[in-house]
Amino acid sequence: MHYSIGNMGHFFTVTAFVAALLAAFSYIRSVHSPSDGLKQQWLLNGRFVFYIHVLAVAGAIISLFVIIYNHYFEYYYAYTYSDRRLPAHYLFSTFWNGQEGSFLLWIFWHTVLGLILIRTNRYWEAPVLAVVAVVQAFLTSMILGVVIPGIDLKIGSSPFILLRDALNDPIFKVQPDFIPEDGQGLNPLLQNYWMVIHPPVLFLGFAATLIPFSFCMGGLWMRKYRDWIRPALPWALFAGASLGLGILLGGYWAYETLNFGGYWNWDPVENAVYVPWLVLIAAIHTMIAYKNSHSALKASVVLTLAVFILILYSTFLTRSGVLGDASVHSFTDLGLSGQLLIYLLFFLIAAAILVAMHWKKFPADEKEISAYSREFWIFVGAAVLCLMGFQVLLPTSFPVINKIAAWAGINSNLATPADQVTFYSKQQIWFAVAIAVLSGIGQFFWWKKINRQQLLAELYFPALAALVLFILLISTAKIYQPAYLILSLAALFTIAANIKILSSVIRSSPSLSGGAIAHTGMGLMLIGILFSSGYSRVVSLNNTGMLISRELSEEFNRENLLLFVNEPREMYGYEIEYKGERVEPAHKRGYISKRDIEYTANPYEVIARRDIYFRGKKLYAKGEKFAINPENTFYEIEFRKNGVVKFVQYPRVQVNPRFGNMASPDITRKISLDLYTHVSAPMTEEAKQDWSQREELRIKRNATFFANDYVARIEELQRINQIGGEPLDSSFLAVKARITVDGEHETYTAEPVLIFGTQSRGGLLADEIPELGLRFTLMNIHPQTDEITIGIESRQKDWVVIKALEKPWINILWLGTGLLMTGFGIAIARRFREFSLMRRKGQE
């Protein structure tokens, strides 16, 4: 038992919590100290304690990682989320798989950002770090795992608890020091490189939203109503980039791993981060306009504060268990919902009070805002973004509304609309149109004061270009829906307008090109989303006309295709053929037929039955032992045109008794489209074992015979000395018959074994050819007549049901994402430079 590491981890967590409280206290005292000397003293104090906090957080992270890395399965966390077989890089995924670890990840980013703030911004250090420290105190309390005696109040859930304390297993009563041999392993869905990258990026985005929030709170607190924006702006942009990238990486993971047929499903968990991101983008825009407009200043305060509150709300939604039936993949309830609610309400009320106290003191606008000012357009844009968020937030909050209603004694049973994707998309699309138009027009106001004539002159070219592109687009792509037509026109317009601006800016001042690049990227993303989702099309239509029952005959339009092995079908202009079930070797690239391997007692280890080739390359020699991942089965599907193989797809089904079964697609990527195929129903084990009555055939040793209408031959009988890689005991005698069967395309071999035992019972090892639905048993050998008895059984040939979708122009979405991120990067650099200049002048 390794008690000390867990005790250390726990000690570090408690230290981090206490240090965060002390740091908050010191920094607050520093802000409120009357004299400069005292301010400085408390500031140094706060900084010192914050450093201790950072060290303690690092200590807690290292402790947890040591536990995971060394497979200390006496700890609940390591036992539940990892096993010995897990490759080292996925141990990171284990780290943030549980709620506690993901809290630690979030806490970690706050400490990193806090350290950067201390280094870059001495002027704002006290108020900003005070807010950060309070947040850290709340977050570390979530992983404290302390029970207050007497009132039995549990605060937080510790990642350092021992297995025996977490589970009430009887074994711990008998044997308190029991350590399981192996852990339960990481959910195979999360064993994906995107799951190593996505959570850290997303939590970096979460953490980054705290910084503008802290500056804003600090600004109100110090009555510096406008000065907080300049240092906060680069951080807000950084948060926009990292949160946006985090969301997209999650979508990309879902696209590659899950099988709902896309990258975005409007699941509550997704919505919970999408809404704060939209509001954050709105906040960034009003922050940019604050200098000339006091209304923009007020809006910046409200929106910046709202972003962080929404992040807390999304944490509450996904981690408190309140979503329950509404989402398939929310975290399980750790009993922390009360604590999470207090956390949310604390900051909501604190922010509201602070704003209310200072609202009247904000400077007010004297004159009316003009429709030809950039502030006006920014306002409209920010309002559209917020309403866009509201439309998603409202249905996502139904479970919360139901809870509150029940609490108030009202019976509310609201559920999200049946077809979530259509419900959200058909309304979000109009907001997207508005955003596209505004970002095209608004950009022109950005650069100069402009009147009606000038505006029209500026807009002339982009509008014309957009129209020409639009006509080209609709004459090639068949777009009919009005909403789609309008969105594509609007998106083309913003692309043309922003490219025009970009071309004039890039020469004179490239550092200012961030906005134009980001908006061009957004326009491309809209086009990419419109085509890849709006025109995503099921291509695996079932046109056989087979009916399930007369009663249901109206249901004709089925979107799945039943493929029998080696029976070609027409699909999507290709001749497609299912070739059979494959496994993937653990250490080499390639797919291996299940018929080419012999299983051993260890499910992770198999033996090659013959020389194994993949695409002409020899992977293993006959008799070689190698490792596979037995959970995964790949279904080889060949796509041919005019008899030439164009490509082969290997969609996957993962069978995991603990996490359930899961089908993942295989995606064939072309420039203009992705072909996305997944298994919608694999052949079940029952169907595989549904054999006919055994037919026994007594034939000559080297006879040719018919098996289920296929021509079969006994090639040879051979004595063997080992089975499944294990040598046979000398008291056994085993004979293998090699039977070849001529299938439609190739000749298959089956090798049933007959075992005689001199001391104990022998046995019959049947061998099957799933491609033909045949199973042979060597029943007996008759030396007197030189005959053998063969048992033949048949069943339905192997089959698989697939669904295939075409995703046109999805690459435009990825290209647009790249541009958006580049734009953010340029804007962050510019705003940071502005801030640094002011700092050098001693202003900040």
């Binding site: 036992y79 539940t80 297995l163 589970l167 009430n168 297993d169 074994i171 029991f178 399981p180 339960q184 959910n187 209304s295 039936d325 398939v328 399980t332 009316e368 805002i369 429709a371 409209v380 309002a383 309403l387 509201f390 439309q391 409202l394 249905p395 139904f398 049973n413 609201l414 559920a415 999200t416 609309p417 049946a418 077809d419 419900f423 309304q427 079932n542 056989t544 087979m546 009916l547 399930i548 029952s549 009663e551 249901l552 249901e555 339009n557 089925r558 979107e559 799945n560 295709l561 039943l562 089904v653 603990r658 996490f659 359930g660 899961m662 089908a663 919608s680 129903a681 089959w799 049901v801």
Partner: protein, 134 residues
């Protein structure tokens, strides 16, 4: 009226419009009896019904019938009030279907058969196990 007031009014109007459409399109959790009543009154909105698969005394799931081409199936579901109902789903049997503890079907009645457009499964709690595999 100041322009900013008009602006605020428009925002409010859109927000109210969102509220109205959302509440109009929102689905509800109901029982099969209520769903049947709604359908017979000509209300063809999709609704959510929560229930379990029908099981025999041994705890085995009964009543699942697959279509000949394996791409659609029917099953018998028991709602929270104990009413049994045949449900048709125009897709292959979802994986883990038989393991599910709780099933949510989203769809509507067509005649006497409930046609599910979507099925949500709640599988036995995947993460919280209380025993150790020794």
């Amino acid at each position: 009226m100041k322009k900013s007031h008009i602006f605020l009014l428009i925002i409010l109007a859109v927000a109210v419009a969102i509220l109205v459409t959302t509440s109009r399109e929102a689905s509800t959790y109901v029982t099969f009896s209520e769903a049947y009543q709604m359908a017979s009154q000509g209300n063809h909105r999709s609704i959510h019904v929560v229930g379990e698969l029908k099981k025999n005394e041994k705890g085995e799931v009964v009543g699942i019938e697959t279509g000949a081409d394996k791409v659609s199936f029917t099953f018998i579901m028991v709602d929270d009030n104990g009413r049994e109902q045949t449900v048709f789903y125009n897709q292959p049997i979802p994986q883990d279907f038989k393991r599910s503890e709780k099933v949510v079907v989203i769809g509507r009645y067509k005649g006497n058969i409930f046609h599910a457009e979507k099925i949500l499964l709640k599988c036995p709690s995947k993460y919280q196990e209380n025993t150790v595999n020794v």
